[in-house]
Symmetry: C2
């Protein structure tokens, strides 16, 4: 497609960006009560329009089936009355969170009497690029609205009708609470050219892009974006069973970290076991996993002690399975484990199981991951489990936010300086 053909679309996207920026300015000065009223009204509107949403979704699903969409993707796309109700409840839960805007993050007074405060403020306009999961439309919009940000949504083409129906309900909620409906907008077409336009920032109107989806989507966004990106790439999470591990804790933690839900980014993908406990505790752990239906891909040592294991390749140490598969490696103590994780990990979440405090402290400090754990399951890597309420994902970047990204992480701050006529000498 030529550049020329995109001109009307580019113009339309610019208008959308300006509307978002104007809505963001209004939201910045909106009270917590008004934002919460809008969220509750949006939840109510989702319930009122459940039939419209389900009808739109049925169209999406039948088109997706015709184009050969596969099982897991189809499952993510499909809605039913329970899922729509869960969506409405999710929006209501966001309303119950403490308001993240206006929080005093710091305050101090200078010797010259200037009083300086750092206060949390909304970021502005957030672009969300996601795949064909209609519920993300409601989740992401609710979190952005709660944190005072306007949002521009670009969902997957397969869920376009469902998302549009959900969007209508959300905008109805905003209007009912006398907030600008343009605080939540969706791009006008599923043309992939709009993604490039969003990544270029829409003439300076988009402050932040958040991709939600698989590694391919996130990698594309990271490599093309001209505006800041808060990204949630893969989670190659490790559990390290130290020689001083409590056996019961180790068995429970590994099984839970891997098998509770295998498809989430906090699921363990690689198990490291101290060589000294491989034949004893290690074998028990591998038997637990095997019995739970987990495929075990071991290094030479793991395969030698456990007949159910198949040999791991070099690529296995770099793979996020998101499935009932685990790679297992025997290590020569703490430093060897740290080296492996720093070499192959994705800086998401790692856990050490040990009763040795100094080994734990060394592990917790030496690793450069967003979340490091001691005697706990990596599946706790989650905004809800952290007590932050809903999250928009887990960040593994180093700037701004890392770990679970909830409403507080969707704010920035400003300094407010109060004086009584001070001039600088």
């Amino acid at each position: 497609m030529s550049l020329h053909e995109h001109e009307p679309l580019a113009a339309e996207m610019c208008v959308l960006g300006i509307a978002a920026r104007d809505a963001a300015r209004a939201l910045r000065e909106t009270t917590a009560d008004a934002k919460n009223a809008a969220l509750l009204a949006a939840a109510a509107a989702i319930r009122v329009h459940v039939d419209d949403i389900l009808a739109a979704n049925a169209q999406d699903v039948s088109l997706a089936k015709m184009s050969g969409l596969s099982g897991a993707l189809l499952d993510r796309l499909a809605l039913d009355a329970d899922r729509v109700e869960a969506m409405a409840r999710g929006v209501e839960e966001v309303a119950t969170l403490p308001d993240p805007v206006g929080r005093e993050l710091a305050r101090w007074t200078r010797p010259n009497g200037l009083e300086i405060a750092r206060l949390a403020t909304p970021i502005g306009v957030i672009g969300i690029i996601y795949e064909s999961r209609p519920n993300v439309t409601a989740d992401a919009a609710a979190l952005c609205l709660k944190s005072g940000n306007a949002v521009i949504l670009r969902g997957g083409s397969e869920s376009a009708r469902s998302s549009a129906a959900i969007l209508e309900a959300l905008r109805e909620g905003l209007a009912a609470a006398h907030l600008p409906a343009d605080a939540v907008q969706m791009v006008p077409t599923t043309d992939r050219a709009v993604v490039g336009m969003m990544l270029s920032g829409l003439e300076g109107t988009i402050d932040l892009i958040i991709p939600r989806g698989g590694k391919g989507l996130v990698a594309r966004v990271q490599s093309e974006a001209r505006v800041p990106v808060l990204a949630h790439l893969e989670g190659i999470c490790h559990v390290y069973v130290h020689e001083q591990a409590d056996p019961e804790k180790a068995r429970a933690i590994v099984l839970n970290a891997k098998m509770r839900r295998t498809g989430i980014c906090g699921a363990a993908e690689t198990l490291l076991i101290d060589r000294s406990v491989l034949k004893s505790l290690g074998v028990q752990i591998l038997e637990d996993l095997h019995a739970a239906g987990c495929e075990i891909r071991g290094d030479k040592d793991a395969c030698a002690v456990f007949a159910g294991a198949i040999p791991a390749s070099e690529q296995d140490w770099r793979t996020e399975y998101l499935d009932a598969i685990i790679s297992v490696k025997a290590v020569n103590g703490l430093e060897d484990a740290i080296r492996h994780i720093e070499t192959y990990g994705s800086h998401h979440t790692e856990s050490i199981v040990t009763e040795d405090t100094s080994a734990a402290e060394r592990f917790l400090w030496a690793l450069d991951s967003a979340i490091v754990m001691w005697n706990a399951s990596t599946q706790f890597a989650d905004g809800g489990e952290f007590g932050m309420g809903a999250e928009i994902g887990i960040g593994t970047g180093k700037l701004h936010a890392r770990g679970p990204v909830g409403v507080e992480q969707l704010t920035t701050f400003k300094y407010i300086v109060c004086g009584n006529g001070q001039t600088r000498p």
Copy 2:
């Protein structure tokens, strides 16, 4: 130059990136005492090598003169014994700052007993791209080292010899304190191709780029970088004299905000005056500025009341003069002032002068600038004046750090989660 010709350079830059990453890993686990010892040893080495530094600088200066470098740039390039001593003292002052690494930013306990702490950690490897100011070599390296980061420096070509001599002293200090000298490195050539390589992140080894220099440099870095940028673009700072301003405060603040130092980013560039006080207080302020040697570019109303003003063009409202020039506009009250600043400002620093608390509060909250002030000079927009110690610049971006960027802002954080065997239900 063809891509092929850059291959050896690209390989060399990759080696440099890997050395920086390894040094960053070592620094991450270095104690505050060791980092401070390295800074003090570096300051001592700067003093020991003052003659080498001055000789190298003399070569830079004479080459720069031959190539026709102009007055202000030449002044920034030239060193003398006093300037080298100031550089050494600056490094010592960074050593006296509190260590920003390991600070506990938050801590809470979950109902299931998990203890979660958010601790400050170094960012990793920081790339600094700057112009021909040799002192930035020492300043930037000291701030990065203090915050536990390795640094890759790329200074302007005119200061290459001076910067190399300063670098040697810094590395001598690191080695004396048994820290890896590669914590501070400089690119091997002034070939502009290295800038592009740094902006692409050197194969994932650079975590953050900080440009220090004029608008052209910062704009290039922002548009080309493939890694996060902490940027300090222009400061079009406003002072708004509200109708309820105290006349003495207003006169002192405007004069100081504009004229104390005109070349810093916190200097005021536009003065907004409520129409109701234009003929009285407004004229006094313009007379003060005029008497101090400031050129006044006024709108129709300002020109009508003050004969010494020349007409401002539309472009003036968007211009950071960094000089003894101010643009002046009469406004119809608070909302008009806010609208002007949101339209033409650069989100750096704005100040309102008023005795009306509710007008001040509205101004402070409505503006989307990194720093907003009440009854104080915009020239306080500075890390030192904020009590942060040295700063690497002022950020106007919305992600990670805004306002003065000191050692605390050069850190990120991680979550440490301590349990006693918890698994997720």
